[in-house]
């Protein structure tokens, strides 16, 4: 029997309602007066507040004209006399646009328009009928996360001007529009009770039946509005449940599909629009992160900044986040994260008299286990993030309101809201948040953030208007609009019922960001240590009478921190952002060289004796590394001191080169491609390899739309053949090192590997010089170790984290690629293998195998990502005993901290802790020394006299002459000068 599917072609009742709703919206504007004498000037922004103008200059802009250019900023001007019929009325400016436009009238910033809002209330801000408009627009071809479907439809570099108007609003119509916006959202959402939705559909229809759309009368609209009040809002037969706190917030990527220079205006518009909403809605509160964005506003828009200060003082505008920017929280080292708080909090204190109590990072790609301690010692008790609850690809993160315990045992209250941090405050989004909330019984309220982000400029009038109606609806969860900090204190503080998460907040997504844009990661690592060196050298010189370069160091540090923003350093951005960052890095490098200067003697800035083999550049040296002449020597320099380093040529024979390479430590069998077939350890009397070892592996890497961000678990499905262009051959053998070189490649790329074995070191170094021209390829170095273990140990920069190497559970399966810093180690109790790197962060761990991620080749957001020249090295370091006794961490420091020249010495080396920082305090009255326990031990330091114990903000906590420390603790002391 044939089956005929019934297809409804006639209009459904709900469609009839939608149609009439659309018609009603046409009457929002009562009167409109077209501004006809606009002129426009096209430009392109080239630096903060600097523009290159197109040669056409000013031209008239009429309705239907094309405006905006690729990466374009446009300036608009016009003079308008308010027409007689609009005089004395509440006056609005209306402009429908895809761009982000800042509007200034008679010299005052009155607001902004963009795809999310098309009108600005003028009346309170003008005192004349003569209006001089000045506008600046940045075209947003990549709208606001593509979340608002309406903004998607207008994307593109070239836009058609739809006209600008002075207008008045029909508030009767607008009130009903907001009612219907709210009610229709519920009626269309499966998350609400079906009977209630039927009730809504029926009664909305009844209300609209009171309006004749062929002859719309205000009194009919008022009747419909009264019907909604009397019948729908008055109904309380249908009970909802839940308790949701609504937090207004606008996320702002400092750079992403736009350069950092554009965020100055994005930020101005966002803040300005929120200030204007606060003027109209006294109960409206809004949270805004990143001290840097406040700093930019203060620098370039001081008038708006003064208004902002008033709104902060009255509690409507809430600075949150405590950090300088919202950084990536995987790759920056501990000191960088501390500086994010120090510079951020110092700014908030200085300008607003506030120490911010929360860290606010909704968009970052996972959070290192070292963070809770850094928060606590930076005056921060609360942590807010988001991604692991909404973006995890394998496991549902089990908590939303909880306690997060850090690597050292520090605990902070944490909130990871159950739904995305960008919403438009619709009932269905709020209901979804409540449904997804996992701590209903013990966590108090759930947090729902609302507001467009990334230049979408936060909250809109509509979001606030619908919010004011929520409590009229019995079907809605209980709603409260409060500030971020109010939410945290009300629901988390002293809440004994909260669950505890002890470990990193690993994001089960975006695993590629440990590796994408390799050159940036290399520079970042280098500059983090170079800044450390510059501060130590400058402090010691200051003690001898030299001026401390406070401003210069602070400026470089802050700019490095900006480049650690979570869409800059992770590599998820467009080409110009990469160029900006690389230009910055080069500049910092040169400025730091000037600070460091030079000396007669070599200076060991590490607070332990440098006793491992180091490459020292010397134009007469016998060896070459990264293209520079030098010598491999053991410096034997005591901690924090300078000295001469001499090297003598070893006369004996230490390395046999035949089928096997025999060194004082190993018998090695290489393959032609530089991989190691056998690595026999003479001292340990054992073989270290068990499969492919030091093998260069290339895989097709097709993660999908989140190309720069993700590596998928199937990346090993298709391997790309690596050809041997030039097989391994000996290129150097002198008294300290024997070097071997092979050239590998694909059709498009060449990969030179230089492998070094040493007379005086167990390390085997692999230097990589790569000309990379791949698309969608992931390069890894694989090490199948002859080691039986279920855990690998990874450096976090402030202690180590153990990670499972088996895949028993989905949690372990999801962590197939993890972040590490200088080293990763896989060991049995009496020995193992460390891989120490100079610039890599991604590593895969599986059973007995480690795979160091080396390069990627993604095409979104940057088609040119990683194409070009790369240089990096890693060192294979087999060791006896465990990684602590083998001093792997110290060896990794020596591998990453170059030995420079400075004629300086410091008397105290501060025991077994790593001296992370020595600097002059920000006030200039103390030497600040930061010590980090990295081996998981407890102990005591006797300081030989009273010193100040400081927090990370350089506040004095107490005086002491002895410091007790626990595993992984970071301690800051201040010595008055």
């Amino acid at each position: 029997m044939a089956h005929i599917k019934v297809v409804r072609r006639s209009m459904r009742p709900e469609e009839w309602t939608d149609l009439r709703f659309g018609w009603l919206k046409r009457y929002i504007y009562d009167e409109k007066f077209e501004i006809e004498n606009l002129k426009v000037r096209d430009a392109r922004q080239v630096a903060e507040m600097q523009y290159e103008y197109y040669p056409e200059g000013w031209r008239p802009l009429n309705k239907g004209d094309m405006y905006f250019t690729p990466d374009g900023t446009a300036f608009f001007e016009t003079d308008v006399v308010v027409p007689e019929k609009l005089k004395g009325k509440e006056l609005w400016f209306s402009l429908k646009t895809a761009a982000e436009i800042i509007v200034k009238v008679n010299g005052k910033y009155v607001g902004g328009v963009d795809p999310n809002r098309d009108r600005i209330l003028l009346t309170p801000y003008i005192d004349s009928d003569f209006l001089h408009f000045e506008m600046e627009g940045y075209n947003r071809s990549k709208p606001d996360d593509e979340r608002n479907p309406e903004s998607l439809s207008v994307r593109g570099c070239r836009q058609i001007f739809e006209g600008a108007y002075l207008a008045t609003i029909n508030h009767t119509v607008l009130d009903l529009v907001y009612d219907l916006e709210l009610l229709l959202d519920i009626a269309k959402s499966d998350l609400f009770n079906e009977d209630y939705r039927n009730f809504l559909n029926r009664e909305i229809n009844n209300a609209l039946n009171l309006i004749d759309f062929d002859d719309l009368k205000n009194e009919d609209v008022a009747s419909a509005k009264k019907y909604v009040d009397d019948v729908i809002f008055a109904n309380d037969d249908y009970k909802g449940n839940g308790d949701v706190a609504l937090i207004a917030h606008s996320h702002l990527d400092i750079a992403y599909y736009w350069r950092r220079i554009h965020s100055v205006q994005k930020n101005l518009r966002t803040i300005l629009i929120q200030l204007r909403l606060m003027d109209r809605y006294p109960d409206f509160k809004y949270t805004h992160t990143q001290a840097y964005t406040y700093e930019m506003l203060e620098k370039y828009y001081p008038d708006v900044f003064e208004e902002l200060k008033e709104k902060i003082a009255n509690g409507q505008f809430e600075p949150v986040g405590a950090m300088y920017v919202e950084p990536d929280c995987n790759i920056p080292n501990a000191e960088s994260l501390i500086r994010q708080f120090m510079y951020g909090q110092h700014y908030f204190r200085e300008k607003f008299g506030k120490t911010i109590k929360n860290c606010w990072l909704p968009d970052v790609f996972g959070n290192s286990w070292i963070l809770p301690q850094i928060l606590k010692k930076s005056g921060v008790d609360y942590f807010v993030s988001n991604k692991m609850s909404t973006w995890n690809d394998t496991n549902r993160f089990p908590h939303n309101n909880f306690i997060w315990k850090g690597i050292d045992g520090s605990e902070v209250y944490a909130c990871v809201p159950p739904t995305h941090f960008i919403t438009w405050n619709m009932p269905s989004q709020i209901q979804e948040n409540w449904e997804a909330y996992q701590d209903k019984n013990q966590g108090g309220q759930t947090m729902s953030m609302f507001g467009y982000g990334d230049g979408g400029s936060g909250c809109t009038e509509e979001m606030i208007e619908v919010m004011h109606r929520f409590n009229k609806l019995s079907i809605m969860p209980k709603i409260e609009h409060i500030s971020g900090q109010e939410f945290l204190e009300k629901n988390l503080k002293d809440n004994k019922n909260l669950a505890k998460w002890d470990g990193e907040l690993y994001l089960e997504m975006h695993r590629g960001t440990f590796t994408t844009k390799s050159q940036m990661k290399r520079y970042n690592r280098k500059l983090e240590y170079k800044l450390r060196e510059a501060e130590i050298v400058s402090t010691l010189r200051h003690l001898k009478g030299a001026e401390y370069p406070h401003d210069e160091i602070r400026d470089i540090y802050k700019k490095l921190l900006i480049n650690q923003f979570h869409d800059i350093l992770p590599g998820s951005h467009i080409t110009p952002v990469f160029r900006d960052a690389m230009a910055d890095y080069k500049e910092f490098d040169e400025r730091l060289d000037k600070i460091l200067g030079t000396g007669e003697k070599y200076f060991n800035s590490l607070n332990f004796t440098r006793k491992h083999l180091t490459f020292i550049e010397d134009e007469n040296g016998k060896s070459v590394r990264y293209g520079k002449q030098g010598n491999w020597v053991i410096p034997n320099l005591p901690p924090l001191s300078c000295g001469e380093i001499s090297w003598r040529t070893y006369a004996g024979e230490w390395c046999e080169i035949g089928n096997k390479i025999v060194t004082p430590f190993y018998e090695i069998e290489f393959e032609y491609d530089g991989s190691i077939k056998s690595l026999y350890d003479k001292e340990a009397d054992r073989e270290w390899t068990n499969g492919e070892f030091n093998k260069l592996k290339l895989y097709k890497d097709n993660p999908g739309v989140y190309d720069a961000w993700d590596i998928l678990p199937n990346y090993k499905d298709r391997e790309v053949e690596v050809k041997i262009i030039s097989p391994l051959k000996t290129i150097e053998k002198n008294s300290e090192v024997a070097s071997f070189e092979c050239i590998l490649g694909t059709e498009k790329s060449t990969w030179k590997r230089m492998i070094r074995v040493f007379r005086q070191s167990r390390g085997i170094e692999v230097e990589n010089i790569v000309d990379w021209n791949e698309k969608h390829v992931l390069a890894k170095a694989q090490f199948d170790c002859n080691v039986l273990t279920r855990k690998a140990v990874c450096d976090t920069s402030a202690g180590f984290i153990e990670r499972d190497t088996h895949r028993n559970t989905t949690w372990q399966q999801a962590r197939f690629e993890v972040c590490h810093h200088k080293w990763v180690d896989m060991a049995e109790t009496d020995g193992g293998i460390a891989i120490i790197n100079d610039s890599k962060y991604g590593v895969g761990l599986l059973e007995n195998s480690m795979s160091l991620s080396l390069l990627r080749a993604t095409v979104r957001p940057d088609v040119t990502s990683d194409i070009g020249h790369h240089e990096f090295s890693y060192m294979i370091y087999p060791h006896t005993e465990d990684f602590v006794k083998a001093e792997i961490n110290n060896i990794a420091f020596e591998y990453n901290v170059p030995l420079g020249k400075a004629d300086l010495t410091c008397e105290n080396s501060f025991g077994e802790l790593y001296m992370q920082t020595m600097k002059m305090s920000e006030k200039g009255n103390m030497i600040v020394i930061r010590l980090s326990e990295q081996n998981g031990r407890r102990g005591k330091i006797h300081l030989g006299g009273k010193v100040k114990l400081l927090n990370f903000l350089e506040d004095v906590i107490e005086e002491t002459d002895t410091v007790e420390y626990k595993p992984f603790e970071i301690i800051t002391i201040g010595i008055e000068t």
Binding site: P70, K142, I574, V859, R860
Partner: protein, 78 residues
């Protein structure tokens, strides 16, 4: 023309997440490769017209710009 596209036009399109590369210029027809955001832009024709007017102003040549689009695999569904 190749230098003009690669040095003057390209940085502007890159600023919007797009990418343009010169392919050929023959008989007044300038053929370019569009990648990135440009490869899926629904109103890219407006941008091509703009390139034509930019070329006219800066190079004094009347050209017809023809685009070849190369979408990444994850956008290439049609």
């Amino acid at each position: 023309m190749k230098d003009y596209i690669n040095n003057i036009i390209k940085p502007k399109l890159q600023g919007d997440g797009g990418e343009i590369d010169f392919i050929s210029y023959e008989d007044g027809t300038l053929t370019v490769l569009l990648q990135g955001e440009c490869s899926k832009c629904l109103i890219v024709d407006r941008c091509l017209s703009w390139i034509e007017s930019e070329v006219m102003r800066d190079m004094g040549e009347s050209v017809k710009v023809v685009a070849q689009k190369k979408k990444p695999f994850f956008w290439d569904k049609d």
